[in-house]
Symmetry: none
Subunit: 407 residues, 2 copies
């Protein structure tokens, strides 16, 4: 990080980073991976004249969540910058988070009142339908907008899940999120009191206590979801922006709130648009092409199908991307990177620790090492196996943004 | 290290690590290494469907001793955890070392008394035969069992070498081994006084002084070995156990005391057995298979022949191991690792700094990168060139022992 600081210089060149979420895989048929099975004539051609390699998102053997996975490819050490559970939940449900906020993950629960005290009967309120969640969450939001000058924002998730943002009038000091989960983790117990681990957190905890009480009142007559258990109290992490750190004016083109949220954490501007297809993302990219220097374009479905173990689905997304590749190339980015934030092998049906295929195209690559953008071909590439965090160095160098180090 | 702490989870899966000591080599005939010259049909087959790579035991260009070499592949930073010379000597001669102990390397020497003071005439007592060493060491042990409540344990090594353990009644504070060697490094000089570098070490040094005096008395009439020079004062290092650090119940199957000793330093249980062959080790492994989760099985002779420059001997051990490989596979370890603790090229006749071939087999590898477990084929593998310390991360990940990092 420090080494870059003194070396950065301005450039008008454009870096395009396309992230196929969960790109890497393992053999699923005839000993071949999803990337190997996919028919990708455009990618194949590009790969032959590109720098290829594999990146390690966090460390050997470590399976990253979406937060650490993206921080790494954005050029940030995912061990240094940690994104709390509540923040991620809030971002995932489309809430904005600020330095004045504490974000919390909420689970609707069923309690029974014994001698006036709540005792947990079901920690997930019988996994109420998402529709039901929306109705209840709306009811809370309409009846509870503010507590002692603290704004309350609540968003429904799937089934019993919600995200809550408590927005204070002033930026919160670090450590204000040091508050224990209220979920007792067992039925038959009272929810735990939220207790602050330091004076700043204690002030927040006071508001949280009132919030819990008011929600319980509002939900008093609900048959199932009559209580809210809170977990993962978290503040927005202090991360320097892409502009501060790398000198690039950056934007994010993504369909899902989580990824827009992650991009906003590193100061990217979020470009809003209609549609969910790769074509709609490209159309958006074309529209804003003149306005930025670094473009993060996120394609989600490779990961979704990987998580489902649907390797044919994952292949179809890769092939769909391949069909659109010429449009990306027509924009003539000075540097084009194609990679994933982590691997999601269909075989594992989840994120994994495996290194992730990486392609970098620019006039300044060696090329000619590999025939395709696949796991095995990337292993032959000129980039070797490198930490995700170093990708950004290479993109800056290839875009003429790094001066010589030393004389 | 810290990252693993929060991510460990229990699993019943079994990890088998087979260490062929000094495995890696250099070309010795027709441009081929020992591994390349060996006929290894079983390993070849396994390699095709495994993850291959090369590990660097300590750092680029650094030739490791057995201590750092094994610490690395056990998942410990060999620069952080250092094993003193005396400890290694004691372990190598089969002595147990505890936190109450100071271990010392002793060399029998010949002194002449001038004005009642010893003057070194031969620092190695003419390299007395090992048989002679055993007789003398036994004589010392029989006549000297204890000094001021400190138990004295002494074991014969080869030629003039011995190991001594001084066992105090209580655990010794850190730094109690800060005592200078007594060997003056030159003939014609008096042995040096053992002096403690701090108050705790000074207490130990008092006992050492008496020990030296008593040994000199006992050996007074010996023609050659009439004195003992002491070197490498060392305490047992404070290393978290494999169970503490990685959550695995581990055991060691090894023939030579040194490797059992190293395994015991990281808390492995040492399985004792009769015999010295690979078959006897496998028979032992089968017997204890149900009782542990991590198995370290050590095969010594690859290193011994390498040290002798006997590449044909080294090849024969590799081929012998290959014949036994099916028996390892029949146990169906969830994860199998085959590697060395360092390279011992026959061409160099000693340990070397060269990266060490590494094979990891599990259902979660890419495979298909390489045809054999050889230096050159491993370079094509999916693991790349990685620090030895990271191998354990991969074994834990492949055995379902690591949760996702971040959300």
């Amino acid at each position: 990080m420090d080494i870059l600081k003194g070396l950065l210089e301005k450039s008008n060149s454009k870096i395009l980073m396309v992230v196929l979420d969960g790109l890497g895989g393992l053999p699923v048929k005839d000993g071949k991976t999803e990337l190997e099975l996919a028919r990708t004539p455009n990618l194949d051609k590009l790969a032959k004249s590109s720098a290829l390699g594999m990146h390690i998102p966090v460390d050997y053997g470590i399976t990253p969540g979406s937060g650490p996975g993206h921080l790494g490819i954005f050029g940030y050490d995912p061990l240094k910058y940690q994104i709390g559970r509540g923040i991620l939940e809030a971002l995932g449900l489309g809430l904005e988070v600020r330095h004045t906020d504490v974000a919390i993950r909420g689970n609707y629960a069923t309690v029974e009142y014994v001698d006036g005290k709540p005792v947990v009967k079901d920690r997930r309120a019988g996994r109420i339908p998402t529709e039901e969640n929306r109705r209840i969450t709306k009811k809370i939001q309409e009846n509870l907008k503010e507590i002692d000058g603290v704004q309350v924002i609540i968003a429904p998730g799937m089934e019993h899940r919600t995200a809550i943002v408590l927005r204070f009038p002033e930026p919160l000091p670090e450590g204000s999120d040091e508050i224990n989960d209220t979920d007792p983790q067992e039925v038959g117990k009272e929810p735990l009191e939220p207790v602050g681990g330091n004076p700043n957190a204690q002030k927040v905890a006071q508001v949280v206590k009132k919030f819990i009480g008011k929600v319980a009142e509002i939900l008093r007559d609900e048959p199932k979801a009559n209580y809210l258990l809170l977990r993962g109290f978290a503040q927005k992490p202090n991360i320097p922006t892409m502009e501060e750190r790398f000198g690039v004016k950056s934007c994010c083109i993504a369909v899902y709130p989580m990824y827009k949220g992650l991009a906003s954490l590193v100061g990217m501007e979020i470009v809003e648009f209609e549609g969910t297809t790769i074509q709609s993302e490209i159309d958006t990219l074309k529209k804003v092409w003149e306005g930025y220097e670094f473009f993060f374009l996120h394609i989600k479905k490779t990961d979704s199908y990987g998580e489902d173990g649907n390797w044919e689905g994952k292949i179809s997304v890769i092939e769909d991307f391949d069909k659109h590749l010429p449009q990306f190339l027509e924009l003539k980015p000075d540097v084009l990177a194609i990679t994933g934030d982590h691997s999601t092998p269909s075989k594992i049906k989840g994120h994994s620790w495996h290194p992730v295929p990486l392609l970098i195209h620019s006039p300044y690559v060696l090329g000619g090492t590999s025939d395709r953008l696949t796991e095995r071909e990337c292993l032959k590439g000129e980039l070797g196996i490198l930490p995700a965090e170093k990708i950004m160095n290479l993109l800056l160098a290839n875009s003429h943004r790094l001066k010589k180090y030393g004389a």
